[in-house]
Amino acid sequence: MLSKRIIPCLDVRDGKLTKGIKFKGNVDIGDPVDMAEFYYREGADELVFYDITASHEARDIMLEVVRRVAERIFIPFSVGGGLRTVEDMRAVLMAGAEKVSVNSSAVTNPQIIADGSRQFGAQCVVLGMDVLKVPVSEKIPSGYEMVIHGGRKHMGIDALWWAQEAERLGAGEICLNSIDADGTQQGYEMDLTALISSHVSIPVIASGGAGEPQHLADVLTGGKADAALIASMTHYGHYSVADIKDYLSERGIKVRKYW
């Protein structure tokens, strides 16, 4: 049986982690490559790097990070943030990432999903979705709207429609981030995750709101998610990946236990 994946997310700016990270066991790590290796050895099933570098010139720094990560870890990892063209995607994949993630660039230019999928295969193309709960309307029948720029700009696009459209265009996976839940550590947006996951046939990674292992158990069962993104709950030493996997395993959720 397929295991549910636990995926730590690392934010990188100018080649460095955006925040100092203190793992359980008081291991301080500031270099994203060291941190990736730490999570690899800890049993993470996959990693997500999100590049929040503002300037396009600094992109080469991220590519160097990707190359160094690819030499040290032997599990899949994806890279997202600021990828606007197929050439941007190609550079990241050639540097050694398994997958690329497109988010706001895909909302404004859906063709990038189709082009990337055709060039590199659907399994390489992850659609990142930032979603906000809104009143149900004719335009937003699901009550979930696509937003960009961290939720500051509403796009007038229904999230469920967009997920299905992206699948049709060739996205291989969806990383579904609830802006409402993000940063709260109060749990994932269950209704949103279950809604999207049950209406697409590609895997859905739940994102936003994880604070304790119970939240992962919830979203991987009732939320119908195939994988769960985590950040602060392991970055700041509250839990290790192994702690979370033990918890899930004890509750009958299949996770990878040998690494």
Partner: protein
């Protein structure tokens, strides 16, 4: 020297990096002469059957790979590189290399597990392998080890004799096969952490002699 076959099927550098981490001398190549000289050959890949076979034929590699197997040189297929060694694939209705008898078929569109819950296609993520025989390439890999899979099509070997392992996704499908000097896996050992690296290390040390007894 190990030749990693380049046939525009992507995903070659991760195989190269994994082999390098094991200290192996390897090179990505599409040169028939170089590949013919190599001591071992790996056919990796992420791609589509139609385009993959067209590339192999255009580059003249279909014959080189057949010779490799005929000579008894150790040969490893990975993921799409495994599917394409069979006779035929339902993907793009493609005649493939025919190095392993059997065909490749798609998971059902409305795929469900035994309890009736819908299963996503592609089969993407970590899953275990139920090993059927002992084989030197799969030695010292614990039963609880899992491997990273990404695929929508699966193997249907003509003979049970070639099946090394199966994996459960709604039903057991064949995830590892072996015949003579040829071994092939549906998962990605280069992205499967320690057990995957162990498999590659075993392949590097293997003399190509047929393995093992039934478990």
């Amino acid at each position: 020297m190990i030749a990693i076959i380049d046939y525009d099927a992507g995903n070659l550098t991760s195989v190269e990096r994994a082999l390098r981490s094991l200290g192996a001398d390897c090179a990505i190549s599409r040169d028939p002469e170089f590949i013919a000289q190599a001591a071992r050959v790996i056919l990796p890949g992420v791609g589509r059957a139609g385009a993959g076979m067209a590339s192999l034929r255009r580059l003249g590699l279909d014959r080189v790979l057949a010779d490799t197997v005929a000579q008894g040189k150790p040969f490893l297929g990975i993921c799409f590189g495994t599917q394409i060694i069979f006779d035929y694939s339902e993907e793009d209705l493609t005649d493939c290399l025919g190095l392993m008898p059997g065909k490749v078929v798609r998971f059902p569109v409305e795929h469900r597990d035994q309890a009736g819950e819908p299963l996503k296609v592609p089969h993407m993520g970590w899953n275990g392998v139920d090993w059927k025989i002992n084989h030197p390439v799969f030695a010292d890999i614990p039963d609880e080890a899992e491997f990273y899979f990404v695929h929508s099509y699966y193997l249907q070997p003509a003979s049970e004799d070639s099946v090394v392992g199966t994996t459960d996704y709604g039903f057991p499908f064949v995830s590892a096969v072996a015949k003579g000097s040829l071994v092939a896996v549906q998962f990605h050992p280069e992205k499967s952490g320690r057990p995957g690296l162990k498999l590659l290390e075993n392949f590097l040390a293997w003399d190509g002699k047929e393995g093992g007894d039934a478990l």
